[in-house]
Amino acid sequence: MNPQTGLRTALFERHRAAGARIVDFGGWDMPLHYGSQKEEHHAVRRHAGVFDVSHMTVIDLVGTDAERFLRHLLANDVAKLTEPGKALYSCMLNFDGGVVDDLIVYFFTPERYRLVVNAATREKDLEWIGARSDGFEVELSERPDLAMLAVQGPDARELAAGILPAGSRETALNLAPFFGADAGDWFVARTGYTGEDGFEILLPSAEAGGAWQALLDAGVAPCGLAARDTLRLEAAMNLYGNDMDDATSPLEAGLGWTIAWKPEEREFVGRDALEAVRARPDRRRFVGLLLEDKGVLRSHQRVVVDGVGEGETTSGGFAPTIGRSIALARAPAGDYDRVAVEIRGKLLNARIVPTPFVRHGTVRIDV
């Protein structure tokens, strides 16, 4: 066995007992799959699956300056959030306009928010947020006491509602997309990272084992990080570290829609640098690719556009729902709809297609 043990979630022993193949992910020992990542993928598209995402970092933010601080810290604007429980996806930028991390922020009151950031960037994020909060009346507290389950799929909400604390079932089922609500001392949100409907549930770690088992007993399939990756790729949802990073502008990572340019007087971190990128005519495109030749696209393969320039796939793989190979790619500026991708020394044909590739169980591209 690996002599170096990583961090473990409250569900680690259950994963192992279920036959999970365990891998290191951002310092955590996490389940990659429980036998077949493809079957897990299909379970989420067709029925319901549950992912242990307790490795993700939850940070509560409380204080009289909480709103003012987040309007400074984030490229999206929390002032858009007016209804309690509403969630917002945002990038957190550095001064050069690169992405420190992408995150979800939940609004409760202008003095109380909750952030969910990536596991692999935890230390960097905490340091960055802490440093930026100087001069703001705001307190940050990490919530390692909470476990997090993502229950996803067309039947996910119905099945997950059945395991929620008594009295909160109705509240949960009435949540609109991208809203969350307290459910006893749990928190339930209609969010996810798969392109399917579902819930993400935050709950005390001590109760995670029981909740996990209850979901499995209800017929929800345990799913690992491998299926999570193919599901999010089909949904064209970015993965931090693959599709964007500290050196990549959100404008070159397909995340322009998450930037709140207005009001113009809002001075968020990275704004000046971002304005400069926005003005550049040679800004790289971020596109979805469908491989037309036989083979499998992977992350970080060379993309060649005849007479235009080169780029690279940022995430790529076999898409189980489509039965073909797809990728997200950063490609040179220009007007073209076909590219070549270098796979194992050969240039293969790929076509630019609109994203998402798959949404709510349905293939959205012409194959």
């Binding site: 799959h33 077949s36 990542q37 493809k38 491998a226 193919t230 036989k294 083979g295 499998v296 992977r298 793989g317 076999f318 189980p320 190979s325 194992r344």
Partner: protein, 130 residues
């Protein structure tokens, strides 16, 4: 892990070989290899008639997760490929030593001593598990 078929030879690269009665050699990847790769989604096969060198790349198997070369355990020419893998690469997952065979070679030479017996391959697998 299931038991290794006793009538096959193996390589350190996790291929198996079977000497057929006509002298040709059938090659596939082992159960251990298919399990490590996970669900296979694509197999790149050589052309029939193509010559391969011992130890050279002969085919590529790609799973949802990764691509892996299949090396020619012996030199020779390709006399048949398993075309059914084109539509159904998961045959390798389902039946690695049977329907999931990959290539049949007509070997130039067949040096048994250079290959692993089932016991020797099992020993290699045991070491990997440690």
């Amino acid at each position: 892990m299931s038991e290794l078929p006793g009538d096959l030879k193996y390589t350190e690269e996790h291929e198996w070989l079977r000497r057929e009665e006509d002298g040709s050699v059938t090659v596939g990847i082992t159960d251990h290899a298919q399990a490590a790769l996970g669900d296979l989604v694509y197999v790149e096969l050589p052309e029939v008639g193509q010559d391969v060198e011992a130890g050279g790349e002969m085919a590529v198997v790609e799973s949802v997760k990764a691509a892996s070369d299949v090396y020619a355990p012996v030199g020779g020419s390709v006399v048949a490929v398993n075309d059914e893998l084109g539509d159904d690469p998961e045959k390798i997952n389902a039946d690695p030593y049977g329907d999931g065979w990959i290539v049949r070679l007509s070997p130039e030479a067949f040096d048994e001593a250079a290959l692993l017996t089932p016991d020797a391959y099992q020993e290699l697998l045991d070491k990997l598990d440690d």
